[in-house]
């Protein structure tokens, strides 16, 4: 079997990998390696592992179009809208590309595991189901309509789950053929650590996206990056981001109490994990079906116009925030570059110039020069220290500001689709009158559709309220952290300069 290389891939030394270049044709020698890897041979006869996302297996029908590989990754189907789909209506073609905004299109951005089974097609017959009672222990709405309160919110647990992602360790499998990094994940509930590789997080992400994606925006995992993934700096950064992702998932009452998430955090042993995995993969309450498990407790059905308005408001807000966040990221990036590049270089040069002048003065042969030259040297060294401080500062403050905003960029990128599910439902409800008139659906069908749209709107409102409260918490925290570090930074510079100043004397 031949394959076409879609992207350059540089082999990690010592990991039995094979470097490949875009446009190259390789021969697949073992397709059953697993974990997103296949074994291949290049034209020179060298054999090694390559990431399967980076190549396209040749076949007669679409072998010449490199984009078709992404079709394989199309795991979506949520626009087969449960709420908006009256019985018997044909489901349209689905497009999941928008799901991970900016994600698809290059394998270094996040992608699903390339699961090709059209499991969502099996959902269509289930559209006929009634709103089922809560079948897991989350997903209960309850009203908090006291004056000044925010409207529908998720039922939050009394205890806030959290976990610690730590202690990355290199492991190997396939009799040492493949290396990987394993992270220790310790939930605050059991305090018992479990081990997970990136691909397990990836599996969890896929399950959550499949199951909750219609109602809850599931932010992408940190980049799947293949090259350089054994470098300490990268491992540290990935761990930090996996921690951020896990904390965000833990904070969500619906996700954190779900069976699959609980499994991930606290499986008892390998057998428990494997069984749980199999069960989760067979879960059929996925896609829009998730709304069937949501019970807006004691809340009245919403009017269509009200649903629409809420939808529009959220849409506008997330779009505006997305712009604001991207703007801040752009500026932050430029500031980072300046703070780590030209600015410290300049302070260093100022420092060197003072020290240089000091050593020229030392050569004067004039008596009584020492006090000045010592002071000048000290001032010069101070500016060199400041240069280093300036260069290291972004890691202490800007870094967290950037990470938080990057996280929000990812999260906001999921909103258009979540909102889109609701919009599609509204459109279908709007068409319902015509369908009733044409005798295609019954008036009772129309009532059911309205009820479902109302449930979806409550869900969206609860999700937005969850988003807002988290956002207020996160931005307060990150701004505090940023400004605290900035204050420390400027205070330390002032302190250093005060000391340098004290060494000069006026005669």
């Amino acid at each position: 079997v031949y394959a076409q290389v879609l992207y350059d891939f540089a082999a990690e030394p010592g990991n039995n990998e094979l470097s490949i270049r875009e446009g190259e044709t390789i021969t697949i020698t073992n397709q059953n390696i697993g974990g997103g890897w296949i074994e291949a041979k290049n034209s020179k006869g060298e054999v090694g592992l390559v990431p399967e996302d980076y190549i396209e297996v040749s076949n007669t029908s679409n072998g010449n179009d490199p984009w078709t590989v992404f079709d394989n990754n199309a795991s979506g189907g949520f626009s087969n809208n449960w709420a908006a789909q009256p019985e018997g209506t044909e489901t349209g073609k689905t497009s999941s590309n928008a799901w991970h905004s900016g994600g698809h299109g290059h394998p270094q951005a996040y992608q699903g595991p390339g699961n090709n089974s059209n499991k969502f097609k099996g959902l269509v017959p289930k559209m006929k189901m009634k709103i089922s009672p809560k079948n897991e222990n989350y997903a209960a709405f309850y009203s908090r309509f006291k004056t000044g309160e925010v409207g529908p919110v998720w039922a939050y647990p009394d205890y806030q789950l959290d976990c610690v992602v730590a202690d990355p360790k290199k492991g190997s499998k396939l009799y040492g053929l493949k290396s990987y990094i394993e992270y220790q994940v310790t939930p605050t509930t059991t305090n018992k650590p479990v081990n997970h590789r990136y691909k397990h997080f990836d599996w969890l992400y896929e399950r959550l996206l499949e199951k909750f994606g219609s109602a809850i925006p599931i932010p992408c995992l940190p980049d799947k990056q293949v090259a350089g993934r054994f470098e300490d700096e990268f491992i540290k950064m990935r761990m930090e981001r996996l921690q951020g992702w896990m904390t965000r998932m833990c904070r969500h009452p619906v996700i954190s109490s779900s069976e699959v998430f609980q499994l991930f955090l606290s499986y008892k042993d390998e057998k428990d994990w494997k069984m749980g995995k199999r069960k989760a993969e067979k879960d059929e309450t996925v896609g829009v079906m998730v709304f069937s498990t949501i019970e807006p407790e004691g809340l009245p059905d919403l009017d269509l116009i009200e649903v629409e308005q809420k939808c529009e408001q959220f849409n506008r807000f997330t779009r505006a925030m997305d712009d604001g966040v991207k703007d801040l990221l752009t500026i932050g990036n430029e500031h980072w570059k300046r703070c780590t590049g030209p600015l410290p270089k300049e302070y260093q040069r100022i420092g060197k110039a003072f020290q240089n002048l000091s050593s020229v003065f030392t050569s004067s042969g004039y008596e009584g020069e020492a006090a000045l030259t010592d002071a000048l040297t000290a001032a010069g060294k101070t500016y060199e220290e400041i240069a280093q401080m300036v260069a290291e500062q972004p890691k202490k403050d800007l870094h967290f500001l950037m990470e938080t905003n990057n996280e929000y960029k990812g999260l906001l990128g999921c909103f258009p689709d979540t909102v889109g599910v609701h919009k599609a439902a509204i459109e279908k409800v709007k068409e319902a009158d015509k369908l009733v008139a044409a005798g295609k659906i019954t008036p009772s069908d129309k009532t059911t559709m309205s009820k479902r749209a109302s449930t979806m709107s409550y869900s969206l409102q609860a999700e937005m309220n969850h988003f807002h409260s988290n956002r207020i918490y996160d931005y307060n925290r990150v701004m505090q952290q940023y400004l605290e570090q900035q204050v420390k930074f400027y205070e330390m510079i002032a302190e250093k300069l005060r000391h340098a100043h004290s060494r000069f004397t006026t005669m």
Copy 2:
């Protein structure tokens, strides 16, 4: 009479000036305006004043070489070396271009008033004179050869003269035809202000250069700049620099006690000033003759090798310092640009980004947003304030560091020539043996030459010691000033950020 335009000149509006362009031919209509101006007519028939340095009067012999205009400005002649010139020896050709290093070559840099009379040629016969007794009340050496002391120094007065240059006022002359700026100069001795225009400072500079230039480096005045000279910013800057120049002259015991300097600072009335001017212009104790007025009180004659070593040491030092100062100026200039250009722009953008995010958050419709959005807006405004502080800071600190170093650059530029006068004397003394052998000079002539070289060396040492002590004072002061302002700057930023920080709350 026709003239060729050498440099572009933009007329100051309302001052009867005429804009001219390089390469243009103009007709001179009045050559007797004075003050460096002539009246001319361009090809369009427009008549107005133009600076005479900017044009070259056409004549048959050298009308096509624009550089010959600078020969007119050659006011030097100090290499007609008094000490090294035995009786009857022909004086060589003089080159004064090096006198103002970087000064000649463009009229916007400082130039003398274009005095064309070869008054220094008259000096040659006077070389026969004996060392005359001190004929003014300065210039006495006295020995301070206590252990650890610095060697020969000028006799410093008990009272340190200083003056204040202030209150620039616009005046006019030629029945309102020409405007000028007049500065008030108040010496601390009389406390009685006198008025001087830039051209008077220029006249003083010329007198000091003529009289003391062989022994004492006389720093150039601030640029003669013609265009934009009535703009407030320029007037302020020129005043500041004239103040710096005057303070430096006041600090020099030989210069400050000279008749011409005293005249400039404390002439009684116009008549007094005009008579004093005439007297100063007729002064014949100029050039190398100044050494004849210097008496190394009780100091033994120096050995030639010792003189040479001192000379070399000073030369090395001033060259090294010149490099160091220029280096600092280059870096300072770049830093200035960054601090007033891209850096505040970036802080402003950070500020805007925070405020933008704040206004997006305000639009969320979520309750309990106000505390965060107020804090974010305040943080944004703080960064805008910081942007402004950053942009204004160089004027508060870097400015003085740059001005002081610019002053020293000018001063150091004069040293090679001052040292050159001594080197030439040494060379001549070295040749003296041959001349004695050839019967061209007497052994007694040779002794006189050695004695004179010794006096010059003492003078140079005194001047270097003066330079060193002033340098130590100036650099201590300017570094203190710089660092003090820097500390204030960073403290104020920290304070502002601390306040911004306090507005965020963790829930």
